[in-house]
Amino acid sequence: MEEITKKDLLILTGISYGQLYRWKRKGLIPEEWFIKRASFTGQETYFPKDLILDRIDKILELKDEVSLEELSEIINKKQSEKEITINDLKETNLFFNQEVFDLYEKETIGFNHVVLLKLMDNIYHIVEEKEELKNFYQFISKYAKDILNDYKEIYFITSNDKLTSIFVKDSNNLEYQVDDILKVNLKNLIDNIKLIVMV
């Protein structure tokens, strides 16, 4: 993954050290994104470039509408009970493939199922047999709560038109030698959806 130094990030986005660390303190930027490496001045901090730029854009966009405390509340709340209608969800432009809405049958949708649908949306292009997608969706919606709470990452592998998924709790010492692999970090996905849907 491409990385960016802290100084470059501040120059690129125009934010200050104070803002960056305030957002970190409020939990809007996860601790794991601060990657520390030794340098001649002690240490230098790097960030995963795409993730951090995306998140900062979103915060800057929202901070005029919503206070920082409210944003922090939204992103740090464990489970949200709020249900929204499918039509509202369609208007958020969160989904690339409108077809995934066919998987969900009810009129209103809870937060967990929005995450699962978005997950389906992310893997939509790698699954050829759409029947398989449906089966997989039925499987994960059965265990939605456990999956979203307990697992950190999901890996998707497609070989011979078959979809294989691996649920990972701790990815630190995971090694793999497969090229066609799609990695989804659940926490990042959930946080991003929260910032779009819950605000």
Partner: protein, 234 residues
């Protein structure tokens, strides 16, 4: 209405919900404890999670699990081995935090504290702090007369200077240096600081500083040129 609990001698508490808890002797808390207020004058060891509104520790305490407190006042010696969430924290005694203290409104240290990560809106240090990871605050003030050692200090408004009150001044003429590896913030004022790198928007370097590198964005005011090796604008 929950019960009150007072321990005079030696007791084992299996956790539960209480109104007021007082420990004069020695107590082992084995399960999760929820209480309105708790005072420990003797010794206590917590092996479960704690949710307490007002927690005052005058004796010796050890916490193994997550602690969530609104007001925490430490006058004895304590050790916390997991994350701590606290609104208002005052330290007069000696305390060791081995994990993160997060989403805190106000922290005041008059005694001695060993912390790893500390996140608070307002941090005031008038004692000694040993920080192995990061202090992160909206406003950080450090009075330097006891010396401190901090790995990384970040925030919006950072001030490090000796306490100007006259009686403190008489007591200790030689203000001790504060060692801070890196300082990053918007507005920074430093005195008596030894640091490798200082980065920020508006930086003022006062007397008695030894700083290897200053990187500033808007303005930089150095009162003692000898104390700074290198200055850069970004």
């Amino acid at each position: 209405m929950a019960n009150n609990l007072t321990v005079f001698a030696d007791a084992t508490i299996h956790g539960g919900t209480y109104n007021k808890v007082r420990v004069f002797g020695s107590a082992d808390v084995l399960g999760d404890l929820t209480a309105q207020s708790m005072k420990v004058f003797g010794a206590a060891e917590y092996k479960g999670k704690c949710h307490i509104d007002t927690l005052k520790l005058y004796g010796a305490c050890e916490f193994e699990e997550y602690v969530e407190v609104k007001y925490l006042n430490i006058k004895g010696a304590c050790e916390f081995n997991d994350d701590v969430k606290v609104d208002l924290l005052k330290i007069y005694g000696a305390v060791e935090f081995n994990k993160t203290i997060f989403r805190c409104n106000e922290v005041k240290v008059y005694g001695q504290a060993t912390v790893s990560n500390l996140e608070a809106d307002y941090i005031y240090i008038n004692g000694h702090v040993d920080c192995s990871e990061q202090l992160n605050g909206e406003k950080i003030e450090i009075a330097t007369h006891q010396g401190s050692k901090i790995k990384e200090m970040v925030g919006t408004n950072i001030t490090v200077k000796p306490n100007r009150k006259w009686f403190v001044h008489v007591k200790s003429n030689t203000s001790k240096e504060v060692e801070i590896d890196t300082i990053e913030g918007d507005e920074i004022y430093l005195e008596n600081v030894v640091s490798k790198a200082v980065r920020g928007n508006k930086i003022t370097i006062g007397p008695n500083c030894k700083i290897d590198l200053v990187e500033y964005h808007e303005s930089c005011n150095i009162k003692d040129e000898n104390g700074v090796k290198q200055v850069e604008k970004y």
